[in-house]
Protein backbone atom coordinates (compact mmCIF):
# COMPACT_ATOMS: atom_id res chain seq x y z
CA UNK A 1 0.00 0.00 0.00
CA UNK A 2 1.43 3.38 -0.92
CA UNK A 3 2.10 6.13 1.62
CA UNK A 4 0.15 9.38 1.76
CA UNK A 5 1.31 12.36 3.83
CA UNK A 6 -0.69 12.91 6.98
CA UNK A 7 -1.09 16.58 6.09
CA UNK A 8 -3.46 15.44 3.34
CA UNK A 9 -5.91 14.08 5.91
CA UNK A 10 -9.17 15.99 6.06
CA UNK A 11 -12.31 15.73 8.16
CA UNK A 12 -15.15 15.86 5.70
CA UNK A 13 -18.23 13.95 4.66
CA UNK A 14 -18.00 15.36 1.13
CA UNK A 15 -16.73 12.16 -0.55
CA UNK A 16 -19.03 9.83 1.40
CA UNK A 17 -21.89 8.22 -0.53
CA UNK A 18 -25.11 8.50 1.45
CA UNK A 19 -27.74 7.95 -1.24
CA UNK A 20 -28.36 6.31 -4.64
CA UNK A 21 -25.54 3.78 -4.31
CA UNK A 22 -25.04 1.85 -7.53
CA UNK A 23 -22.49 -0.83 -8.48
CA UNK A 24 -21.00 -0.51 -11.95
CA UNK A 25 -18.44 -3.32 -11.71
CA UNK A 26 -18.51 -6.04 -9.07
CA UNK A 27 -16.59 -9.20 -8.32
CA UNK A 28 -16.64 -10.36 -4.68
CA UNK A 29 -16.60 -6.63 -3.84
CA UNK A 30 -17.60 -3.39 -5.54
CA UNK A 31 -14.77 -2.53 -7.94
CA UNK A 32 -16.48 0.56 -9.40
CA UNK A 33 -19.55 2.30 -8.00
CA UNK A 34 -21.41 5.60 -7.85
CA UNK A 35 -23.80 7.44 -5.59
CA UNK A 36 -24.60 10.84 -4.13
CA UNK A 37 -23.03 12.64 -1.17
CA UNK A 38 -25.03 14.56 1.44
CA UNK A 39 -25.24 17.59 -0.88
CA UNK A 40 -26.60 15.49 -3.75
CA UNK A 41 -23.33 15.67 -5.73
CA UNK A 42 -22.27 12.67 -7.80
CA UNK A 43 -19.47 10.56 -6.36
CA UNK A 44 -17.62 7.87 -8.32
CA UNK A 45 -15.66 5.36 -6.27
CA UNK A 46 -13.36 2.43 -6.95
CA UNK A 47 -11.51 -0.20 -4.98
CA UNK A 48 -7.73 0.31 -4.99
CA UNK A 49 -5.97 -2.12 -2.67
CA UNK A 50 -5.96 -3.80 0.73
CA UNK A 51 -3.33 -4.00 3.44
CA UNK A 52 -3.91 -7.33 5.22
CA UNK A 53 -1.37 -6.52 7.94
CA UNK A 54 -2.84 -3.17 8.87
CA UNK A 55 -6.34 -4.46 8.01
CA UNK A 56 -7.19 -1.52 5.81
CA UNK A 57 -8.99 -1.33 2.49
CA UNK A 58 -8.37 1.67 0.25
CA UNK A 59 -10.72 3.36 -2.24
CA UNK A 60 -10.59 6.31 -4.61
CA UNK A 61 -13.60 8.64 -4.45
CA UNK A 62 -14.08 11.67 -6.66
CA UNK A 63 -16.79 14.26 -6.92
CA UNK A 64 -17.74 14.80 -10.54
CA UNK A 65 -20.00 17.08 -12.54
CA UNK A 66 -23.04 15.60 -14.28
CA UNK A 67 -21.36 16.15 -17.63
CA UNK A 68 -18.16 14.29 -16.71
CA UNK A 69 -20.17 11.54 -15.04
CA UNK A 70 -22.30 11.09 -18.10
CA UNK A 71 -19.30 11.10 -20.45
CA UNK A 72 -17.76 8.43 -18.26
CA UNK A 73 -20.92 6.30 -18.23
CA UNK A 74 -21.10 6.45 -22.01
CA UNK A 75 -17.42 5.47 -22.42
CA UNK A 76 -16.47 8.91 -23.75
CA UNK A 77 -13.68 9.23 -21.20
CA UNK A 78 -11.73 6.63 -19.28
CA UNK A 79 -11.62 6.48 -15.49
CA UNK A 80 -7.97 7.53 -15.59
CA UNK A 81 -8.82 10.68 -17.58
CA UNK A 82 -11.72 11.35 -15.24
CA UNK A 83 -9.38 11.22 -12.23
CA UNK A 84 -6.95 13.54 -14.00
CA UNK A 85 -9.71 16.08 -14.62
CA UNK A 86 -11.68 16.07 -11.36
CA UNK A 87 -11.17 18.86 -8.89
CA UNK A 88 -11.92 16.85 -5.77
CA UNK A 89 -10.04 13.58 -5.60
CA UNK A 90 -10.05 11.63 -2.34
CA UNK A 91 -8.42 8.49 -1.02
CA UNK A 92 -10.49 6.74 1.63
CA UNK A 93 -8.98 4.17 3.99
CA UNK A 94 -11.45 2.04 5.94
CA UNK A 95 -10.63 -0.52 8.57
CA UNK A 96 -11.66 -4.09 7.76
CA UNK A 97 -14.32 -3.93 10.47
CA UNK A 98 -15.70 -0.69 9.00
CA UNK A 99 -15.31 1.17 12.30
CA UNK A 100 -12.71 3.78 11.29
CA UNK A 101 -12.27 5.80 8.16
CA UNK A 102 -9.46 8.15 7.13
CA UNK A 103 -10.02 10.57 4.26
CA UNK A 104 -7.20 12.16 2.27
CA UNK A 105 -7.69 15.01 -0.19
CA UNK A 106 -5.09 14.28 -2.83
CA UNK A 107 -3.82 15.17 -6.24
CA UNK A 108 -3.41 12.46 -8.85
CA UNK A 109 0.36 13.11 -8.68
CA UNK A 110 0.29 11.80 -5.09
CA UNK A 111 -0.67 8.35 -6.36
CA UNK A 112 2.04 5.97 -7.62
CA UNK A 113 1.50 5.03 -11.24
CA UNK A 114 1.05 1.31 -10.54
CA UNK A 115 -1.97 2.03 -8.30
CA UNK A 116 -3.78 4.19 -10.83
CA UNK A 117 -6.34 2.75 -13.25
CA UNK A 118 -5.06 2.29 -16.77
CA UNK A 119 -6.07 4.55 -19.65
CA UNK A 120 -8.11 1.62 -20.99
CA UNK A 121 -10.36 1.56 -17.91
CA UNK A 122 -13.70 2.50 -19.45
CA UNK A 123 -17.02 2.16 -17.68
CA UNK A 124 -18.75 -1.15 -18.50
CA UNK A 125 -21.43 -0.79 -21.13
CA UNK A 126 -25.02 -0.46 -20.02
CA UNK A 127 -26.86 -3.72 -19.49
CA UNK A 128 -30.39 -3.29 -20.78
CA UNK A 129 -32.76 -4.76 -18.25
CA UNK A 130 -36.53 -4.30 -18.22
CA UNK A 131 -37.26 -0.76 -17.06
CA UNK A 132 -40.77 0.46 -16.30
CA UNK A 133 -40.05 3.73 -14.51
CA UNK A 134 -38.54 6.74 -16.22
CA UNK A 135 -37.86 10.25 -14.99
CA UNK A 136 -36.97 13.73 -16.16
CA UNK A 137 -35.20 16.05 -13.73
CA UNK A 138 -34.87 19.72 -14.63
CA UNK A 139 -31.98 21.70 -13.18
CA UNK A 140 -30.69 25.27 -13.42
CA UNK A 141 -32.42 28.66 -13.37
CA UNK A 142 -36.06 28.49 -12.14
CA UNK A 143 -35.89 24.71 -11.74
CA UNK A 144 -33.43 25.16 -8.87
CA UNK A 145 -36.18 27.07 -7.04
CA UNK A 146 -38.42 23.99 -7.56
CA UNK A 147 -40.67 25.80 -10.03
CA UNK A 148 -41.36 25.36 -13.73
CA UNK A 149 -43.16 27.34 -16.41
CA UNK A 150 -46.54 25.66 -16.97
CA UNK A 151 -46.30 25.71 -20.78
CA UNK A 152 -42.80 24.25 -20.68
CA UNK A 153 -43.82 21.61 -18.14
CA UNK A 154 -46.82 20.66 -20.30
CA UNK A 155 -44.59 20.50 -23.37
CA UNK A 156 -42.21 18.15 -21.58
CA UNK A 157 -44.95 15.87 -20.29
CA UNK A 158 -46.72 15.75 -23.64
CA UNK A 159 -43.54 15.00 -25.51
CA UNK A 160 -42.42 12.34 -23.06
CA UNK A 161 -45.84 10.69 -23.39
CA UNK A 162 -45.30 10.77 -27.16
CA UNK A 163 -41.78 9.35 -26.87
CA UNK A 164 -43.02 6.57 -24.61
CA UNK A 165 -46.00 5.73 -26.84
CA UNK A 166 -44.20 3.23 -29.01
CA UNK A 167 -46.57 1.72 -31.54
CA UNK A 168 -44.53 -0.36 -33.90
CA UNK A 169 -45.88 -1.59 -37.21
CA UNK A 170 -47.47 -5.06 -36.92
CA UNK A 171 -46.90 -5.28 -33.19
CA UNK A 172 -50.13 -6.28 -31.43
CA UNK A 173 -49.55 -3.81 -28.62
CA UNK A 174 -48.17 -0.39 -27.83
CA UNK A 175 -46.70 1.29 -24.78
CA UNK A 176 -48.28 4.03 -22.73
CA UNK A 177 -46.88 6.37 -20.06
CA UNK A 178 -48.56 7.28 -16.77
CA UNK A 179 -47.47 10.13 -14.55
CA UNK A 180 -46.12 9.20 -11.10
CA UNK A 181 -45.73 11.44 -8.03
CA UNK A 182 -42.71 13.71 -7.89
CA UNK A 183 -39.50 13.05 -5.91
CA UNK A 184 -39.15 15.76 -3.35
CA UNK A 185 -35.33 15.96 -3.45
CA UNK A 186 -35.00 16.89 -7.12
CA UNK A 187 -34.95 20.47 -8.40
CA UNK A 188 -38.06 19.84 -10.49
CA UNK A 189 -38.93 16.44 -11.76
CA UNK A 190 -41.43 14.30 -13.64
CA UNK A 191 -41.74 10.57 -13.11
CA UNK A 192 -43.47 8.16 -15.43
CA UNK A 193 -44.50 4.54 -15.41
CA UNK A 194 -44.59 2.70 -18.71
CA UNK A 195 -47.14 -0.01 -19.31
CA UNK A 196 -47.97 -2.30 -22.19
CA UNK A 197 -51.31 -1.56 -23.77
CA UNK A 198 -52.49 -4.78 -25.35
CA UNK A 199 -54.11 -4.94 -28.73
CA UNK A 200 -56.56 -7.53 -29.98
CA UNK A 201 -54.30 -10.56 -29.92
CA UNK A 202 -51.20 -10.72 -27.86
CA UNK A 203 -49.16 -13.80 -28.63
CA UNK A 204 -48.65 -16.07 -25.65
CA UNK A 205 -44.97 -16.20 -26.60
CA UNK A 206 -44.68 -12.48 -26.04
CA UNK A 207 -42.24 -11.71 -23.26
CA UNK A 208 -43.10 -8.33 -21.77
CA UNK A 209 -39.80 -8.05 -19.92
CA UNK A 210 -37.87 -8.66 -23.11
CA UNK A 211 -39.82 -5.90 -24.79
CA UNK A 212 -39.19 -3.48 -21.92
CA UNK A 213 -35.44 -4.21 -22.14
CA UNK A 214 -35.65 -3.40 -25.84
CA UNK A 215 -37.57 -0.23 -25.03
CA UNK A 216 -34.76 0.90 -22.70
CA UNK A 217 -32.13 0.13 -25.35
CA UNK A 218 -34.25 1.94 -27.95
CA UNK A 219 -34.53 5.10 -25.83
CA UNK A 220 -30.80 4.96 -25.10
CA UNK A 221 -30.07 4.73 -28.82
CA UNK A 222 -32.41 7.61 -29.73
CA UNK A 223 -31.07 9.81 -26.93
CA UNK A 224 -27.36 9.08 -27.30
CA UNK A 225 -26.11 6.95 -30.12
CA UNK A 226 -28.28 8.31 -32.91
CA UNK A 227 -26.14 11.46 -32.78
CA UNK A 228 -23.01 9.38 -33.41
CA UNK A 229 -24.48 6.91 -35.87
CA UNK A 230 -26.77 9.23 -37.86
CA UNK A 231 -24.94 8.18 -41.04
CA UNK A 232 -26.90 4.92 -40.92
CA UNK A 233 -29.90 7.05 -41.95
CA UNK A 234 -28.18 8.76 -44.83
CA UNK A 235 -27.00 5.63 -46.59
CA UNK A 236 -23.36 5.84 -45.62
CA UNK A 237 -21.35 2.67 -45.38
CA UNK A 238 -19.73 2.26 -42.02
CA UNK A 239 -19.67 0.62 -38.67
CA UNK A 240 -22.83 1.23 -36.67
CA UNK A 241 -22.43 -1.05 -33.64
CA UNK A 242 -25.21 0.44 -31.54
CA UNK A 243 -27.73 0.51 -34.38
CA UNK A 244 -26.85 -3.05 -35.38
CA UNK A 245 -27.21 -4.23 -31.81
CA UNK A 246 -30.63 -2.56 -31.52
CA UNK A 247 -31.66 -3.95 -34.90
CA UNK A 248 -30.76 -7.47 -33.79
CA UNK A 249 -32.86 -7.22 -30.62
CA UNK A 250 -35.70 -5.73 -32.65
CA UNK A 251 -35.53 -8.56 -35.17
CA UNK A 252 -35.59 -11.14 -32.36
CA UNK A 253 -38.77 -9.55 -31.00
CA UNK A 254 -40.45 -9.84 -34.38
CA UNK A 255 -39.34 -13.45 -34.71
CA UNK A 256 -40.77 -14.31 -31.30
CA UNK A 257 -44.07 -12.75 -32.32
CA UNK A 258 -44.03 -14.91 -35.45
CA UNK A 259 -44.13 -11.87 -37.74
CA UNK A 260 -42.03 -12.54 -40.81
CA UNK A 261 -41.13 -9.23 -42.35
CA UNK A 262 -37.36 -9.44 -42.14
CA UNK A 263 -36.89 -7.42 -45.33
CA UNK A 264 -38.74 -4.45 -43.93
CA UNK A 265 -37.35 -4.61 -40.43
CA UNK A 266 -34.61 -2.03 -40.85
CA UNK A 267 -36.95 0.53 -42.39
CA UNK A 268 -39.58 0.02 -39.70
CA UNK A 269 -36.98 0.59 -36.99
CA UNK A 270 -35.55 3.63 -38.76
CA UNK A 271 -38.99 5.21 -39.16
CA UNK A 272 -39.68 4.76 -35.44
CA UNK A 273 -36.31 6.26 -34.53
CA UNK A 274 -36.94 9.27 -36.78
CA UNK A 275 -40.27 9.93 -35.04
CA UNK A 276 -38.65 9.63 -31.62
CA UNK A 277 -35.76 11.89 -32.64
CA UNK A 278 -38.25 14.53 -33.70
CA UNK A 279 -40.00 14.19 -30.32
CA UNK A 280 -36.68 14.55 -28.53
CA UNK A 281 -36.09 17.77 -30.46
CA UNK A 282 -39.46 19.09 -29.25
CA UNK A 283 -38.77 17.89 -25.72
CA UNK A 284 -35.51 19.79 -25.53
CA UNK A 285 -36.43 22.96 -27.40
CA UNK A 286 -37.10 24.95 -24.21
CA UNK A 287 -33.72 24.23 -22.66
CA UNK A 288 -32.01 27.49 -21.78
CA UNK A 289 -35.16 29.44 -21.00
CA UNK A 290 -36.15 28.52 -17.45
CA UNK A 291 -33.88 25.50 -16.93
CA UNK A 292 -30.51 24.47 -18.30
CA UNK A 293 -30.54 20.67 -18.24
CA UNK A 294 -32.91 17.72 -18.27
CA UNK A 295 -31.58 14.55 -16.71
CA UNK A 296 -33.28 11.61 -18.38
CA UNK A 297 -33.11 8.48 -16.28
CA UNK A 298 -34.83 5.21 -15.46
CA UNK A 299 -35.00 2.81 -12.56
CA UNK A 300 -33.79 -0.79 -12.86
CA UNK A 301 -33.70 -3.19 -9.89
CA UNK A 302 -34.15 -0.16 -7.64
CA UNK A 303 -31.12 1.63 -9.15
CA UNK A 304 -31.33 4.98 -10.93
CA UNK A 305 -29.57 4.96 -14.32
CA UNK A 306 -28.90 8.17 -16.15
CA UNK A 307 -29.75 7.61 -19.81
CA UNK A 308 -28.86 11.07 -21.05
CA UNK A 309 -28.30 14.63 -19.90
CA UNK A 310 -30.01 17.00 -22.29
CA UNK A 311 -28.42 20.45 -22.31
CA UNK A 312 -28.10 23.34 -24.78
CA UNK A 313 -25.42 21.48 -26.72
CA UNK A 314 -27.65 18.43 -26.99
CA UNK A 315 -30.64 20.59 -28.02
CA UNK A 316 -28.63 21.98 -30.95
CA UNK A 317 -27.11 18.64 -31.97
CA UNK A 318 -30.42 16.74 -32.02
CA UNK A 319 -31.86 19.48 -34.23
CA UNK A 320 -28.87 19.31 -36.60
CA UNK A 321 -29.16 15.52 -36.67
CA UNK A 322 -32.84 15.64 -37.60
CA UNK A 323 -32.21 18.28 -40.27
CA UNK A 324 -29.43 16.11 -41.75
CA UNK A 325 -31.67 13.03 -41.81
CA UNK A 326 -34.60 14.95 -43.35
CA UNK A 327 -32.38 16.44 -46.07
CA UNK A 328 -31.29 12.97 -47.10
CA UNK A 329 -34.85 11.87 -47.79
CA UNK A 330 -35.43 11.49 -51.56
CA UNK A 331 -38.68 13.42 -51.16
CA UNK A 332 -36.98 16.38 -49.47
CA UNK A 333 -37.90 19.78 -50.87
CA UNK A 334 -37.06 23.30 -49.76
CA UNK A 335 -38.91 26.45 -50.90
CA UNK A 336 -36.74 28.44 -53.28
CA UNK A 337 -38.75 31.61 -52.68
CA UNK A 338 -40.27 33.14 -49.59
CA UNK A 339 -43.94 32.12 -49.29
CA UNK A 340 -46.82 33.04 -47.00
CA UNK A 341 -48.02 30.61 -44.35
CA UNK A 342 -50.61 30.76 -41.57
CA UNK A 343 -49.38 29.39 -38.27
CA UNK A 344 -50.30 29.18 -34.62
CA UNK A 345 -47.31 28.98 -32.30
CA UNK A 346 -47.66 26.63 -29.33
CA UNK A 347 -44.10 26.58 -28.08
CA UNK A 348 -41.40 29.23 -28.42
CA UNK A 349 -37.96 29.57 -26.85
CA UNK A 350 -37.34 33.32 -27.05
CA UNK A 351 -33.63 32.75 -26.28
CA UNK A 352 -33.04 30.52 -29.30
CA UNK A 353 -35.88 31.97 -31.47
CA UNK A 354 -36.97 28.41 -32.17
CA UNK A 355 -40.16 26.54 -31.40
CA UNK A 356 -43.11 24.52 -32.62
CA UNK A 357 -46.30 25.60 -34.33
CA UNK A 358 -49.37 24.37 -36.18
CA UNK A 359 -49.27 25.34 -39.82
CA UNK A 360 -52.34 25.37 -42.04
CA UNK A 361 -51.83 23.13 -45.04
CA UNK A 362 -54.98 22.72 -47.13
CA UNK A 363 -57.65 21.27 -44.88
CA UNK A 364 -55.09 20.07 -42.35
CA UNK A 365 -53.07 21.56 -39.55
CA UNK A 366 -49.58 20.14 -39.26
CA UNK A 367 -47.18 20.35 -36.36
CA UNK A 368 -43.90 21.86 -37.53
CA UNK A 369 -40.64 23.15 -36.06
CA UNK A 370 -39.67 26.71 -36.87
CA UNK A 371 -36.89 29.22 -36.40
CA UNK A 372 -37.23 33.00 -36.64
CA UNK A 373 -34.41 34.61 -38.59
CA UNK A 374 -32.72 37.88 -37.59
CA UNK A 375 -31.71 39.28 -34.22
CA UNK A 376 -34.48 41.75 -33.44
CA UNK A 377 -36.08 41.05 -30.05
CA UNK A 378 -39.12 38.81 -30.39
CA UNK A 379 -40.66 39.60 -27.02
CA UNK A 380 -43.92 41.58 -27.50
CA UNK A 381 -44.02 40.54 -31.15
CA UNK A 382 -46.77 38.86 -33.13
CA UNK A 383 -44.97 35.57 -32.51
CA UNK A 384 -45.26 35.81 -28.73
CA UNK A 385 -48.85 37.02 -29.15
CA UNK A 386 -49.62 33.92 -31.16
CA UNK A 387 -48.13 31.82 -28.37
CA UNK A 388 -49.81 33.67 -25.50
CA UNK A 389 -53.25 34.19 -27.08
CA UNK A 390 -53.41 31.14 -29.34
CA UNK A 391 -53.74 33.47 -32.34
CA UNK A 392 -53.31 32.30 -35.92
CA UNK A 393 -50.86 34.65 -37.66
CA UNK A 394 -49.63 35.18 -41.19
CA UNK A 395 -45.92 34.77 -41.63
CA UNK A 396 -43.45 34.80 -44.50
CA UNK A 397 -40.81 32.17 -44.79
CA UNK A 398 -39.36 29.15 -46.50
CA UNK A 399 -40.63 25.66 -45.79
CA UNK A 400 -38.62 22.45 -45.75
CA UNK A 401 -40.77 19.52 -46.75
CA UNK A 402 -40.52 15.75 -46.81
CA UNK A 403 -43.07 13.92 -48.96
CA UNK A 404 -44.91 17.23 -49.55
CA UNK A 405 -45.38 17.59 -45.79
CA UNK A 406 -43.94 20.68 -44.11
CA UNK A 407 -41.39 19.72 -41.46
CA UNK A 408 -39.72 23.05 -40.74
CA UNK A 409 -40.27 26.74 -41.37
CA UNK A 410 -37.58 29.39 -41.61
CA UNK A 411 -39.54 32.52 -40.71
CA UNK A 412 -38.51 36.01 -41.84
CA UNK A 413 -38.89 38.34 -38.88
CA UNK A 414 -41.65 40.92 -39.25
CA UNK A 415 -42.51 43.54 -36.64
CA UNK A 416 -46.26 43.49 -37.38
Amino acid sequence: MFHIDKNKIIVSSLPIIVDGYNDLLFDDEPILYTGFNKDGNIIIGSSVDEDYEKKIERHFHSQVSKEIYFNFLKQEISYRRLLEEVQSFFVIDSSFDGKTTTIYLVNIKDIPEDYLPTYEAYCPEEVYKPAYEYGLILTGKKANEHIADITEATNLQDNFAKLARLKIKNFPFSTIAYLLPSNKAASFDFNFKIEIKEGEQLDILFDEKEFMSFFYQYLDFCSNYLLKEKEVFIGDEGDFPKFNSLRKVFLDLYKKLNISIEDEIENILKEEIKKSASTLESMTENIGKNFTTIQFSNKVDGRINTICIFDEKYRDIIEETNVTIEKYSPEYYSDKEVNSYRIQIYNLNTETRKGSAYVESGDYRLKVKFSILGDEPIEESKYTQSLDKGKVIDIKGKAKKVKEEIKRLEIEFEKE
Binding site: L25, I31, S47, V48, E57, P117, Y122
Partner: protein, 143 residues
Protein backbone atom coordinates in the same frame (compact mmCIF):
# COMPACT_ATOMS: atom_id res chain seq x y z
CA UNK B 1 -27.21 -33.04 3.77
CA UNK B 2 -25.31 -29.80 3.32
CA UNK B 3 -24.75 -27.53 6.32
CA UNK B 4 -23.87 -23.81 6.24
CA UNK B 5 -22.80 -23.03 9.78
CA UNK B 6 -19.75 -21.04 8.56
CA UNK B 7 -22.00 -18.83 6.44
CA UNK B 8 -24.26 -18.25 9.45
CA UNK B 9 -21.59 -17.61 12.07
CA UNK B 10 -20.46 -14.15 13.10
CA UNK B 11 -23.44 -12.35 11.51
CA UNK B 12 -27.02 -11.55 12.42
CA UNK B 13 -28.41 -12.60 9.06
CA UNK B 14 -29.11 -16.09 7.78
CA UNK B 15 -28.06 -15.76 4.13
CA UNK B 16 -29.43 -19.20 3.29
CA UNK B 17 -32.91 -18.50 4.64
CA UNK B 18 -32.97 -14.89 3.49
CA UNK B 19 -31.90 -15.33 -0.14
CA UNK B 20 -32.86 -18.98 -0.76
CA UNK B 21 -29.83 -20.09 -2.84
CA UNK B 22 -30.13 -23.37 -4.74
CA UNK B 23 -27.75 -26.18 -5.49
CA UNK B 24 -26.67 -26.17 -9.13
CA UNK B 25 -24.62 -29.03 -10.53
CA UNK B 26 -25.82 -28.59 -14.11
CA UNK B 27 -24.61 -25.21 -15.33
CA UNK B 28 -21.11 -24.04 -16.17
CA UNK B 29 -19.74 -21.17 -14.11
CA UNK B 30 -16.60 -19.05 -14.25
CA UNK B 31 -14.39 -17.42 -11.62
CA UNK B 32 -11.31 -15.23 -11.91
CA UNK B 33 -8.08 -16.71 -10.54
CA UNK B 34 -4.66 -15.56 -9.39
CA UNK B 35 -2.71 -18.21 -11.34
CA UNK B 36 -3.25 -21.10 -13.72
CA UNK B 37 -4.11 -23.36 -10.78
CA UNK B 38 -7.05 -23.00 -8.44
CA UNK B 39 -5.77 -22.31 -4.95
CA UNK B 40 -7.59 -22.04 -1.64
CA UNK B 41 -6.89 -18.30 -1.79
CA UNK B 42 -8.96 -17.99 -4.96
CA UNK B 43 -11.91 -19.46 -3.11
CA UNK B 44 -11.80 -17.38 0.07
CA UNK B 45 -14.67 -14.99 0.62
CA UNK B 46 -14.05 -11.43 1.75
CA UNK B 47 -15.46 -12.43 5.12
CA UNK B 48 -12.91 -15.24 5.44
CA UNK B 49 -10.22 -12.70 4.61
CA UNK B 50 -11.35 -10.62 7.57
CA UNK B 51 -13.11 -7.88 5.60
CA UNK B 52 -16.32 -7.53 7.56
CA UNK B 53 -17.19 -3.84 7.57
CA UNK B 54 -20.58 -4.05 5.94
CA UNK B 55 -24.05 -3.29 7.08
CA UNK B 56 -26.95 -4.37 4.91
CA UNK B 57 -28.08 -7.99 4.72
CA UNK B 58 -27.35 -8.09 1.00
CA UNK B 59 -23.84 -6.64 1.44
CA UNK B 60 -23.02 -9.06 4.23
CA UNK B 61 -24.25 -12.07 2.27
CA UNK B 62 -22.45 -11.00 -0.90
CA UNK B 63 -19.24 -10.90 1.10
CA UNK B 64 -19.92 -14.21 2.80
CA UNK B 65 -20.09 -15.80 -0.65
CA UNK B 66 -17.97 -15.90 -3.79
CA UNK B 67 -18.72 -14.12 -7.07
CA UNK B 68 -19.20 -16.52 -9.96
CA UNK B 69 -20.72 -15.96 -13.40
CA UNK B 70 -23.17 -18.40 -14.96
CA UNK B 71 -22.01 -19.00 -18.49
CA UNK B 72 -25.45 -19.63 -19.98
CA UNK B 73 -26.42 -16.03 -19.12
CA UNK B 74 -23.43 -14.40 -20.77
CA UNK B 75 -20.98 -15.20 -23.54
CA UNK B 76 -17.38 -15.99 -22.82
CA UNK B 77 -16.07 -12.81 -24.51
CA UNK B 78 -18.08 -10.69 -22.11
CA UNK B 79 -16.79 -12.66 -19.15
CA UNK B 80 -13.20 -12.14 -20.27
CA UNK B 81 -13.92 -8.46 -20.86
CA UNK B 82 -15.30 -8.15 -17.33
CA UNK B 83 -12.26 -9.78 -15.68
CA UNK B 84 -9.83 -7.74 -17.78
CA UNK B 85 -11.74 -4.59 -16.93
CA UNK B 86 -11.39 -5.31 -13.22
CA UNK B 87 -7.59 -5.33 -13.65
CA UNK B 88 -7.77 -2.05 -15.56
CA UNK B 89 -9.69 -0.36 -12.73
CA UNK B 90 -8.02 -2.11 -9.82
CA UNK B 91 -4.47 -2.74 -10.95
CA UNK B 92 -3.65 -4.38 -7.59
CA UNK B 93 -6.51 -6.87 -7.87
CA UNK B 94 -5.58 -10.18 -6.23
CA UNK B 95 -7.19 -12.24 -8.96
CA UNK B 96 -8.08 -11.66 -12.64
CA UNK B 97 -4.88 -13.06 -14.18
CA UNK B 98 -6.58 -16.31 -15.23
CA UNK B 99 -10.11 -17.63 -15.03
CA UNK B 100 -11.62 -21.08 -14.87
CA UNK B 101 -14.74 -22.71 -16.22
CA UNK B 102 -16.23 -25.28 -13.91
CA UNK B 103 -19.26 -27.12 -12.62
CA UNK B 104 -20.11 -27.65 -8.97
CA UNK B 105 -20.14 -31.18 -7.59
CA UNK B 106 -23.01 -32.34 -5.44
CA UNK B 107 -22.92 -30.91 -1.90
CA UNK B 108 -20.40 -28.20 -2.88
CA UNK B 109 -22.77 -25.44 -1.85
CA UNK B 110 -25.61 -23.25 -3.10
CA UNK B 111 -25.90 -20.53 -5.72
CA UNK B 112 -27.77 -17.27 -5.10
CA UNK B 113 -29.12 -15.11 -7.95
CA UNK B 114 -27.60 -12.01 -6.40
CA UNK B 115 -28.17 -9.97 -9.60
CA UNK B 116 -25.34 -7.51 -9.30
CA UNK B 117 -25.41 -5.52 -12.55
CA UNK B 118 -25.70 -8.54 -14.85
CA UNK B 119 -28.04 -11.52 -14.63
CA UNK B 120 -24.99 -13.77 -15.04
CA UNK B 121 -23.58 -12.69 -11.67
CA UNK B 122 -24.25 -15.19 -8.88
CA UNK B 123 -23.02 -15.55 -5.36
CA UNK B 124 -21.87 -19.01 -4.32
CA UNK B 125 -22.18 -20.06 -0.68
CA UNK B 126 -19.72 -22.81 0.17
CA UNK B 127 -21.10 -25.64 2.28
CA UNK B 128 -19.21 -26.41 5.49
CA UNK B 129 -17.52 -29.37 3.84
CA UNK B 130 -16.49 -27.47 0.68
CA UNK B 131 -12.97 -27.90 -0.69
CA UNK B 132 -11.55 -26.89 -4.06
CA UNK B 133 -11.92 -30.53 -5.11
CA UNK B 134 -15.69 -29.89 -5.17
CA UNK B 135 -15.24 -28.06 -8.47
CA UNK B 136 -15.17 -29.99 -11.74
CA UNK B 137 -12.71 -27.83 -13.61
CA UNK B 138 -13.33 -27.80 -17.35
CA UNK B 139 -10.78 -25.25 -18.45
CA UNK B 140 -8.39 -22.62 -17.10
CA UNK B 141 -7.56 -19.72 -19.41
CA UNK B 142 -5.17 -16.82 -19.35
CA UNK B 143 -6.68 -13.34 -19.31
Amino acid sequence: MMTFNKIREDVNVDCIKEFKPKENTEDIFTRALKSNKITDDDLKSLWELGRKGYNSKKEICQRKGLSVDKLSNINIDEIEKKYKRIKQFKTKSRRCYFYCKFRFMKNAGKVWDSLVIRDSHKTFFKSDSFTKENLIVLEIRLL
